[in-house]
């Protein structure tokens, strides 16, 4: 089981969903905070869902306040970076580029892509954490398999 978990995690890295920042978070996990990474991830998804909502509403309004969108996205990028959500971060960057260029079409497209990546990551991480919990959190964080 642990091996399975490790494999899943490895694949997340390999596929570029996560980057080394995620590893930093894992290093922070210890006996005092055995579920630290999961907690952070949960917090991230909750907060980012809110941000996505905001962006969505802003886009739907059709007014395309690029400044505002850029601001939202900056926040989004910040948290995504902190958790190591690599693909999401890339989409964020692209979105901001479009914002800066005033390209509404590009923004919409990228945003869709971003939502997709976000949802995918969420699912994968949920799966990962679930397995990890089953396998024994300490072992996942600590013991190499």
């Amino acid at each position: 089981m642990q091996r399975q978990v490790a494999l899943i995690k490895q694949s997340l890295f390999d596929q570029g969903y996560l980057d080394e920042q995620f590893m930093e978070l894992e290093e922070l996990q210890d006996d005092a905070n055995p579920n630290f990474v999961e907690e952070v991830a949960t917090l991230y998804f909750k907060d980012s869902a809110r941000l996505i909502n905001n962006i969505e509403q802003a886009l739907e309004r059709g007014s395309f306040d690029f400044n505002r969108l850029d601001n939202y996205m900056h926040q989004f990028k910040g948290s995504s970076t902190s958790i190591g959500a690599s693909k999401v971060k890339t989409e964020c960057t692209m979105f901001r580029e479009y914002c800066r260029a005033g390209n509404a079409e590009g923004c919409l497209r990228t945003f869709k892509q971003l939502k997709k990546e976000h949802a995918t990551l969420r699912k994968k991480l949920e799966q990962y954490f679930q397995l990890a919990r089953q396998a024994g959190p300490k072992e996942i964080a600590r013991r190499p398999k």
């Binding site: 290093e27 952070v40 917090l43 990028k77 948290s79 970076t81």
Partner: protein, 647 residues
Amino acid sequence: MMNPLNGRGGGLGGSSSGKNQGGESVVEMFPSGLRVLVVDDDPTCLVILEKMLRTCLYEVTKCNRAEMALSLLRKNKHGFDIVISDVHMPDMDGFKLLEHVGLEMDLPVIMMSADDSKSVVLKGVTHGAVDYLIKPVRMEALKNIWQHVVRKRRIEWSMPTTTHSGSVEETTGERQQQQQQQQREAVSADDDDNNSSSVNEGNNNNNNWRSSSGSSSRKRKDEEGEEQGDEEDASNLKKPRVVWSVELHQQFVAAVNQLGVEKAVPKKILELMNVPGLTRENVASHLQKYRIYLRRLGGVSQHHQGSLNNSFMTGQDASFGSLPTLNAFDLQALGQLPAQSLAQLQASGLTRPAALVSKPGFPGGSTTIVDERSIFSFDNSKMNLLHGVPTGMEPRQLAGLQQQHGMTIQQQIAAVRAGHSLRRPQQQTFSRPQQSSSIRQPMLPNRVSEISGFSSGRSSSIPESSSRVLPTSYANLSTQQQSLAFSNFQQELPVNSFPLASAPGLLSLRKPHSSASEVNSSEAGFTTSSYDMLFSSRQNDWDLRSMLSSSHQDAFSNSEAYSSSRNNNNTSRNQQQQQQQQGMVSHHQVYGNGGGSSLKVKSETMAFHEQYSNQEDLMSALLKQEGIGPVDTEFDFDAYSIDDIPV
């Protein structure tokens, strides 16, 4: 990862001074137990940071709103040792928070952001942040934040020493210093490793500053014990941190204005304020921060303004202070630009610049300078953009400001700038919005004068305006003026390698005739210079030199090194502000710009700066630079990404 930290903490623990609750003296328990306040609207980041800091054995308080953070700090002024704040926050700009904390609580503030564009980083520096971390923040970066606390304390301790030529530290202090130095040395190795994730101006500065200030302060102590008195004793002992309330600050500002921003020295300010219990050190450190603030606003560092002005002003138009003459003289000396540039400037329709430009002779020059200065002063207040923004940004900002503020002065300044830019196209078909070299040249002398004038002359020539502004808003005007001056100046400076200045070719002293590329580089250099100038008027020559020597590399590649070295220089400069006065300012200022990369620029800049103390010298420096040839585009900077600059 934690081990070195703990080890260091252990080493620190051996220091004689203990960590008191006020956090005044060197901390025995450093780095563990450091009380950190983290401010970030992003809950994810906040949690992660908190965890990281706890792992570093720091005491962490987290806050997701800037206002809350401020009230927390105000309620408990000595409750924290350092603040880490995000740049982009919904309720208050991170830089604004930075200012408040710096002025009210005198705590070191570290900025952080996912945004790593040079403009924002520069903004952090000019606003007085002790460090800038790029998200995602890693543990290594946080491990060493304690150094900023220690450094700041050392600065406060030694400031009175430097300014009053008396060693603040007595035995305890010296011991502390020595210990700190040892600690720093021990740390520096690690610091270098950990610099990767952050724009860290502290490390190098720390080393430089430490060695220089330590030795100088020690030397001073030996030489003159006269200034040592209760203040020094007080500083050595547990010194209660002064809370700079709004009232107190107003008193301070009033005193500074009365004395003249450039001429304001802590001792006199202290006397004017007449606040019982306030020490010279308190005033000195507050003055330093205040100057940073002003500088940020005005783009010109005020620290050395006095000295700079003084040096420039000698022998020049009395009315203007040396600067005016310099402009005209320089222009003439430069030969290349003056006539052309002047004409162009005039042609460009700049209200002020025309005046400026039209000074072929000294008298004319001086007038211009004054005008420019006044223009700048006004603009300063409005030209927020100029806050320490390198020249690269300035032109844009200037334009932006003009649009935004519509202030006459600003317009004028903008006009001046525009004039410059106009000139550029005329002279060099410079595509960059930034001022062309041609403009630079004439500007250079002007700048020099401006710069010097700004620091000192500005204050003198535009004391009213400055003072006017000061009381109301942290000398926005003066700062702006200065910054303008600086920016202009910097642009002039051939410091191409200014890494910060994304706009290469901002500076180009040498490049009156420089090509666009040169201009770019000069601009870049300029940016840096302005940046540096903003930072520390007191930068020492050695700073400059080190900067210059270090900058002798490809401008571009240097940008990184440059920015960090620049930072260092700035930091060290600030530290040394107290220590150095005349002449150095000019050096520093110029240096700051030149800190940048371009080799040529640097050498030229150096020459330029060094000559600053004298008009004649300046002239020759200018001439020399002129002859040196285009700074060259070592710095192939892309235009300074103004887009990133929040206007």
